[in-house]
């Protein structure tokens, strides 16, 4: 007999919810049974064209009535805590969009709950599933550039290049708005993934450019274990970037790695025969690195992380690529950045 498909409910049909629906719908072992959103127009239109879909305005109803095996949470971050906690009580696996929550304490409580539960939990920090960063992580672990000593990490986009009226959910820090939560969290998590969990931050500066109530630029120094340190700069008000871009430069005792979405370059002080790389620069472009995903929407990383989650649910395995503990670690750094920037102003 064919094993039944795992039933999935999506909560929040904004940009990420819309994307995740498309991708999950192509996975042969998953079936989207329900969606919840506050917009009745969105729900009605979906229902009109996808007859079998159950739609709800309330996430509790979605969980109680459609009884999914797993939910995908794509709501503004300040709503995640109550939704995920309710899912936990009902024994439901959770994929949650980044950032995990808008509050560190809530993140801690959720991570603790899920750690003991055997429920699969994942946070959607997609960069961990991006071809170039998967490869970068392996290169660092191979010690090809020796011990990592310092790094420089930057992320830019043109997401906020006009004055706003301050009305959107994204214009409040307590909702999880602002460049630190929305964009910086990606880079904070990526640094944790590549260099190990950060322990403290220093010299944090936040700037406002176009937003009314939240910051548009953040810069800071990030401290990891054993003296490893790096800088972080995130700016979403830079119109010269057509789409989001991450640049990381990693300096080690035997060379360095420079990586962005287009590929990576490795400078070696000595040739490395086992990895077939010469002394000096070795250049690898995206086509050398990338492996296609079964179905592509917007980027390989989106499909890779969701298929990974679904496969874990199918196999009932909890070794997530980015679990709630990782989500909590990013959250801790986010809180440290805000506190540090306040302390500096005093």
């Amino acid at each position: 007999m064919e094993t039944p498909k795992i039933k999935i409910g999506i909560i929040g049909m904004g940009r990420m919810g819309i994307t995740h629906f498309s991708i999950i719908n192509t996975h042969e072992k998953a079936e989207i049974v329900s969606v919840a959103d506050t917009s009745s127009i969105t729900l009605d239109i979906l229902k009109k064209y996808i007859k079998s879909l159950q739609v709800f305005k309330d996430y509790k109803e979605l969980i109680d009535v459609s009884k999914p095996d797993a939910i995908v949470v794509c709501t503004p971050p300040n709503l995640n805590y109550q939704i995920i906690k309710y899912a936990f009580e009902k024994g439901i696996h959770v994929f949650c969009e980044k950032p995990f929550t808008a509050d560190r304490k809530q993140a801690k409580e959720l991570a603790d709950l899920f750690n003991k539960s055997g429920l699969i939990n994942q946070v959607g920090y997609g960069s961990r599933s991006h071809d170039v960063f998967i490869k970068t992580k392996l290169l660092i672990e191979s010690k090809i550039i020796g011990d990592v000593i310092r790094y420089k990490s930057e992320m830019f986009s043109c997401a906020k290049t006009k004055k706003s009226n301050g009305d959107s959910w994204r214009e409040k820090r307590e909702n999880g708005g602002g460049v630190v939560f929305e964009m910086g969290s990606h880079l904070i998590d990526l640094n944790n993934y590549l260099f190990g969990p950060a322990e403290k931050v220093g010299g944090t500066v936040l700037n406002t450019v176009f937003s009314k109530k939240v910051e548009d630029i953040v810069s800071s120094t990030i401290f990891h274990k054993d003296g490893l340190a790096g800088t972080l700069l995130v700016n979403w008000s830079d119109e010269s970037y057509r789409k989001p871009m991450i640049n990381i430069e990693i300096f080690g005792s035997k060379g360095k790695i420079v990586v962005d979405f287009y590929g990576y370059k490795i400078y070696l002080m000595e040739e490395n025969n086992s990895l077939n790389m010469r002394k000096g620069w070795n250049i690898f472009k995206l086509p050398d690195v990338i492996t296609p995903v079964p179905f592509y929407v917007r980027g390989n990383e989106f499909t890779r992380q969701l298929y990974y989650f679904i496969d874990l649910v199918c196999k009932k395995e909890t070794n997530s690529i980015c679990d709630f503990n990782d989500g909590l670690r990013a959250q801790e750094i986010i809180e440290m950045l805000f506190i540090d920037s306040e302390n500096i102003k005093k």
């Binding site: 049909m13 904004g14 192509t26 127009i41 239109i45 009109k48 057509r242 472009k285 592509y296």
Partner: protein, 292 residues
């Protein structure tokens, strides 16, 4: 079905879209900041015998279209292959407001200013009656307006939208898109996709015919989902009288040498190639290498 042009000149190079490197992307962006440099490259392409242009409906497209309309006597043979929409325009709006409120705002803001009241009425009633098809038709009209007066051959749906919609698997959307494009504009409907096998299989399953499908096709399988083998199989067995296939990303962002890339392309059952280049030499060489 009308045959499409074997060689179509693309536009990525003009808008700083380069998958090879950030610096290259920036250089191109600077070079083509002056729109006259874009026209010069188009002239070179035309001198090399190209008379078909694919252009995405981005912020600079209206000005380019206007130029070609004004100089229609000089460019009377040109055929146009617009791709719509320009996705980045919508991305932030959708993230902030949700998809339908964003569409709503777009339709309203674009029309109240230019005084096209009919569309506003049509838009609000489409939203009220939850008619996604009507909304889609209005978005097509909105995006294609800038190409008015040009000789359009195919209207392509840009890949982010095609692939997103493919995932939902809603037959009606694809059916109605094709129907509307054929009926209202009297041109061929086209889909750009990174999932060519998935797309062709769906179109067949839904019995949607006479469509052009454009997809990245290259020797190393770059941005070809699920994999190159599935692509080769479906291309080999494709009936080109029903689905014409256009290859893009043939050089895999420069990872394959041109001769090697086109030796591969020339062996496939492909009807057309879209490529972009910014020097006359490159255009000339590429045109010589394509033998479909």
């Amino acid at each position: 079905m009308d045959s499409i042009d074997k060689i179509v000149f693309g536009d990525n190079q003009f808008f700083g879209i380069n998958h090879m490197s950030q610096e290259k992307s920036q250089q191109l962006s600077e070079k083509f900041y002056d729109i006259k440099n874009i026209y010069k490259v188009y002239d070179s392409a035309i001198e090399c015998g190209i008379d078909a242009i694919m252009l995405n409906s981005n912020q600079r497209a209206p000005e380019i279209c206007e130029y070609f309309r004004k100089n229609q006597s000089k460019y009377s043979n040109l055929k146009w292959y617009p791709s719509i929409p320009y996705p980045h325009k919508y991305a932030n709006m959708v993230a902030e407001k949700g998809i339908f409120p964003a569409i709503n705002e777009l339709i309203f803001s674009n029309n109240t200013t230019s005084g096209v009241l009919g569309m506003v009425t049509k838009g609000s009633s489409a939203l009220l009656s939850k008619d996604a098809i009507k909304l889609m038709q209005m978005l097509i009209d909105l995006e294609i307006r800038m190409f008015k007066g040009l000789d359009i051959k195919v209207i392509f749906l840009q890949n982010i939208v095609t692939d997103l919609m493919l995932g939902y698997g809603i037959k009606e959307i694809f059916e109605e898109y094709c129907y509307y494009v054929k009926r209202k504009y009297n041109v061929l409907p086209g889909f750009i996709t990174i999932n060519l096998p998935f797309c062709l299989n769906k179109l067949k399953e839904w019995n949607i015919k006479d469509v052009v499908v454009c997809s990245s096709i290259n020797k190393i399988g770059f941005t070809m989902s699920p994999n190159i083998e599935t692509y080769e199989e479906i291309i080999k067995n494709n009936d080109s009288s029903v689905y014409q296939i256009m290859a893009m990303s043939t050089l895999a962002s420069g990872a394959i040498k041109p001769q090697e890339a086109y030796d591969y392309i020339n062996q496939q059952n492909i009807q057309s190639v879209v490529f972009g280049a910014s020097s006359k030499n490159h255009i000339e060489e590429t045109v010589k290498m394509i033998k479909l």
